[in-house]
């Protein structure tokens, strides 16, 4: 895939970091404002997709093939799985919000709601990696590439 014109490149260079930051913000504040792990994760993936669409995939092809998005996905999901399993280890129910029982935190503040922000973070990583891998699989890879 070829890159686009200079104007597009400049604009997306400016836009991509802010979209990325917005994604991180949406992930971290999922329990207080609209949004959450999914919305934020898709935003983060979107910032990468924007850069690749603007600059073309030819330059980054080799890095994309080495950089393993699926591994990130596994890790993110495994963290989420572990947060769910934590309750069972602690002797309560599966998926128990074990942190609120000990330290409820102040409502309406960032550090509240126990494992919810942590889950959001894990989901954010997983969704970003998953969507990015779908994008590179369907849009960039050629016959015979391995991921």
């Amino acid at each position: 895939m070829k890159g686009m014109t200079l104007i597009v490149k400049c604009i997306s260079q400016l836009m991509a970091p802010s979209i990325f930051l917005l994604g991180v913000y949406v992930v971290l504040h999922g329990h207080l404002t609209p949004g959450g792990g999914f919305a934020g994760g898709v935003l983060i993936a979107g910032s990468f997709v924007l850069l690749i669409l603007a600059f073309g995939s030819d330059e980054v092809r080799s890095q994309i093939l080495n950089w393993n998005a699926t591994a990130f996905e596994s890790v993110g999901l495994f963290v989420f799985w572990f947060l769910a399993f934590w309750g069972l280890i602690r002797g309560t129910y599966y998926f128990t919000n074990v942190i609120t029982k000990v330290n409820p935190g102040l409502p309406y503040h960032l550090f509240s709601a126990g494992i919810i922000p942590l889950c959001n973070l894990a989901i954010g990583i997983e969704v970003a990696a998953a969507l990015f891998s779908i994008f590179i699989c369907l849009a960039i890879l050629k016959v015979g590439d391995r991921i």
């Binding site: 207080l32 609209p34 999914f38 309406y108 969704v127 369907l138 016959v143």
Partner: protein
């Protein structure tokens, strides 16, 4: 009630597409339309006249009432599931094109009836 019926109309348009269209990508589009219609219907079901967004803030007054939050949570799940099915279907469609060199379902027919 008219909005519910319009969501069903959208569902039926998608159903028509799946049953009648003979192009792999058109069928994919039709399945997406069905998915939108079900999400739409679900979101409409949760709406409450005069209700507000179910997010509390420190200044929330006692009298305010909210829309139903459960359908929103379910539709969120349904949207992501829809994305997953669409992605897999698109991957299979691309591979089918590679093998058969066409999107025409009538020509993609190596298996017997």
């Amino acid at each position: 009630m008219i909005v519910f019926v319009m969501a069903i109309v959208l569902f039926l348009i998608g159903l028509y597409g799946v049953l009648v269209k003979r192009n792999v990508f058109k069928i994919l589009i039709a399945l997406s339309i069905i998915e939108y219609s079900v999400n739409l219907l679900f979101a409409l079901i949760g709406y409450r006249r005069g209700g507000t967004v179910p997010i509390l803030t420190e200044g929330t007054k006692a009298g305010t009432f909210f829309v139903d939050p459960i359908p929103q949570a379910l539709v969120l799940t349904a949207i992501v599931i829809g994305l997953g099915t669409t992605a897999l279907l698109a991957a299979v469609a691309v591979r089918l094109y590679e093998k058969y060199d066409t999107y025409d379902v009538r020509k993609i027919r190596k298996l017997r009836g």
